[in-house]
């Protein structure tokens, strides 16, 4: 019985620069054909991790395996890894086709097969007929496509993406996210993507690893990560989330009552270690909260309270309210209204009622307690 070998495996990989531990004991495996996104704020160690996999930096401890082989002593030019760099790093003195042919030449492909291969990859990234263009003659999106084709033309075991989309404007970025997904699925190439963009992570990935301060916070598929964030950090990093601090007053299995300000809120936790009377942190997604004019009843919600609109932002497809609740000690609660066209608008300083259910108030043990 042999289970299929993971394309990439990291075992306890750490990296220190002087006294700074940029990456702390990261382990994961990545099966063939899947897309992993490493998501985290800038400086969380995600790019360092990627550079170690590519071979530009060596781990201080731990080992990286590619196709089951340890690669610490393998220089980057002997690894079968394609990479799309943040600023693309296309070769400015070459044409698009020459850029795509470069890895084939360096990896000693039969010269007779190179033009055909280049043509095929130009087609895959939808740049047919553009091969003779110089890099500076191409638009930003086209340069992206050349960089993708260059990283893939030699059929690498693994594709690495180092935030290549971060420089693009929103519309082009969203277009390229779908484009990456299409190409990735067409070629079934195992991919590791690094980004600080939560939307990109959710759109592009089979699996997401959230990092902060060099350590893995949570690894899960996008749906689980969004629905069941394992910590306050993950909950606040993905989605628009209100954060509340309070004291657990009554715990029954997963149900927790939390005293926040003068209110007792009902929430839910997956953490069995939370004790009665302990300080806890609560996270609440903006789309789980409903908003009504003051005085309107909504007995169906587990938590309901009065508040005042502090801010309202119209985003076209939705309305974002920031509501201040005196009972919660003025902590701001974010609320999405997804049908602003058919609902009443609440103006700044309007009195409103907001409500949500216990299952949507995620309770975590205080991280700095």
């Amino acid at each position: 019985m042999t289970s299929p070998l993971p394309v990439v495996e990291l075992r306890d990989v750490s990296k220190s620069f002087g006294n700074v531990r940029a990456v702390k004991n990261v382990s994961f495996t990545l099966p063939r054909g899947s897309v992993l996104t490493i998501l985290g704020p800038s400086g969380c160690g995600k790019t360092t991790l990627l550079r170690m996999i590519a071979g530009f930096d060596a781990p201080t401890s731990g080992e990286i395996f590619i196709q089951g082989q340890p690669v610490s002593s393998v220089p980057p030019y002997q690894r079968s890894i394609g990479m799309v760099f943040q600023k693309l790093a296309l070769f400015p003195h070459m044409t698009a086709a020459e850029n795509i042919a470069y890895p084939l030449k360096m990896r000693r492909y039969d010269p007779a097969t190179i033009p055909g291969r280049v043509e095929r990859y130009l087609q895959i990234v939808q740049l047919s007929g553009m091969g003779t263009r110089r890099i500076h003659e191409l638009s930003g999106g086209q340069q992206q496509r050349v960089a993708i084709a260059r990283a893939l033309s030699f059929s690498p075991d693994l594709l690495l993406l180092d935030e290549p989309l971060s420089a693009l404007d929103k519309k082009l970025r969203e277009e390229m996210q779908l484009e990456f997904r299409r190409i990735q699925q067409e070629l079934a190439v195992t991919t590791i993507n690094v980004t600080h963009d939560q939307r990109e992570a959710l759109v592009m990935s089979d699996e997401i690893i959230v990092m902060s301060d060099g350590a893995v916070q949570q690894a899960a598929d996008p749906v689980r990560l969004y629905r069941e964030p394992s910590s306050r950090f993950v909950a606040s990093f993905i989605g628009l989330t209100s954060l509340l601090t309070g004291r657990a007053t009554k715990i029954q299995a997963m149900d927790v009552a939390i005293q926040v300000g003068n209110m007792v809120l009902k929430g839910r936790t997956a953490d069995e270690t939370i004790q009665n009377g302990a300080w806890v942190e609560c996270a609440l997604r903006a789309e789980q909260v409903r908003i009504f004019p003051a005085g309107k009843g909504f007995a169906e919600f587990d938590n309901a309270l009065e508040g005042v609109v502090d801010q309202q932002i119209f985003e076209g497809d939705r309305m974002v309210y920031q509501v201040r609740c005196p009972a919660l000690g003025d902590a701001p609660i974010f609320v999405f209204d997804h049908d602003p066209a058919h609902h009443q608008f609440h103006q700044k300083d309007d009195s409103v009622r907001i409500g949500w259910n216990a299952q949507d108030l995620l309770v975590y043990a205080c991280s700095d307690a």
Partner: protein, 266 residues
């Protein structure tokens, strides 16, 4: 409205004043070189090419010209690898004593040319190469090397930091990556620097004055010597030759790197 208009007038006045002030000597020399008279004056007394014809017959100037060419070529050939590699090393790689090396290489800029010239004269005399022509080229290379390094550094700084990593990622070992990616990518800077070095060496006077004697005198020194005796329009003609060479260099630069500069601005 009037404010903007006034500003335009003032700015254009300054621009034109500067343009005229800068080009007037050149225009006067240009005119004077075509005179049919026997003294340098502007406007010229009639038009002729006789001073250019005479120049062609003056073996002193012709030899000095060829020597200057020789010196400039040596200076350029030495400065290309020295300046390119130094600039690459200092801007691209984390090397020890980086700042110290940088300061050392830029030292020629802070030392007066008279001091450099005198110093080289003494050193060259000690090692018994004073009086030969090639050391002049080396000397000029030393004092002008910062220009070469600046030209290359400017190009290197405009490159993506990950260019060599990208090459390695494509499967290129370090030497291969250097030859096929780094070097071609910095070529615009190298060409700019090389032409600059050539022109600077071609025009250099003060240090050459120290390093040459009557047998190996270069063109700028030769002109200076002539001025001290008698000023004739053939000097104007020599100056025009200089201007033509400089213009040729600019044209060459435009042809060779014009497109690449375009690329850098992207």
């Amino acid at each position: 409205m009037t404010g903007a208009r006034g500003k335009t007038i003032v700015l254009w006045s300054i621009v034109w004043f500067n343009l005229i002030a800068l080009s007037l000597p050149t225009i006067i020399i240009l005119g004077a070189s075509f005179t049919s008279g026997d003294i340098v004056r502007f406007p010229p007394d009639g038009l002729s090419l006789k001073w250019y014809a005479r120049l062609w017959l003056l073996d002193d100037f012709k030899d000095a010209f060829l020597r200057t060419l020789y010196v400039s070529v040596i200076c350029t050939i030495v400065s290309i690898p020295a300046g390119t590699l130094a600039a690459l090393a200092l801007t691209r790689y984390r090397i020890r004593f980086r700042t110290a090396i940088q300061v050392y290489l830029l030292l020629p800029f802070t030392i007066p040319l008279v001091v450099s010239g005198l110093g080289m004269m003494i050193v060259f005399g000690e090692v018994r190469i004073l009086g030969q022509l090639w050391p002049v080229g080396i000397g000029l290379c030393c004092i002008n090397l910062p220009f070469m390094m600046w030209a290359v550094s400017a190009t290197v700084n405009a490159l993506d930091n990950n260019l060599e990593n990208a090459a390695a990622n494509c499967g290129a070992p370090p030497l291969q990556a250097f030859l096929t990616v780094t070097l071609p990518a910095v070529m615009p800077g190298v060409i700019t620097g090389a032409l600059l070095m050539f022109i600077l060496a071609f025009n250099e006077f003060l240090v050459s004055l120290f390093l040459t004697d009557a047998r190996i005198v270069t063109l700028p020194v030769s002109i200076y010597n002539s001025i001290r005796s008698v000023i004739t329009p053939d000097l104007a003609a020599v100056s025009v030759v200089y201007i033509v060479i400089a213009l040729f260099a600019v044209w060459l630069l435009d042809r060779l790197v014009g497109l690449e500069l375009f690329l850098k601005s992207k």
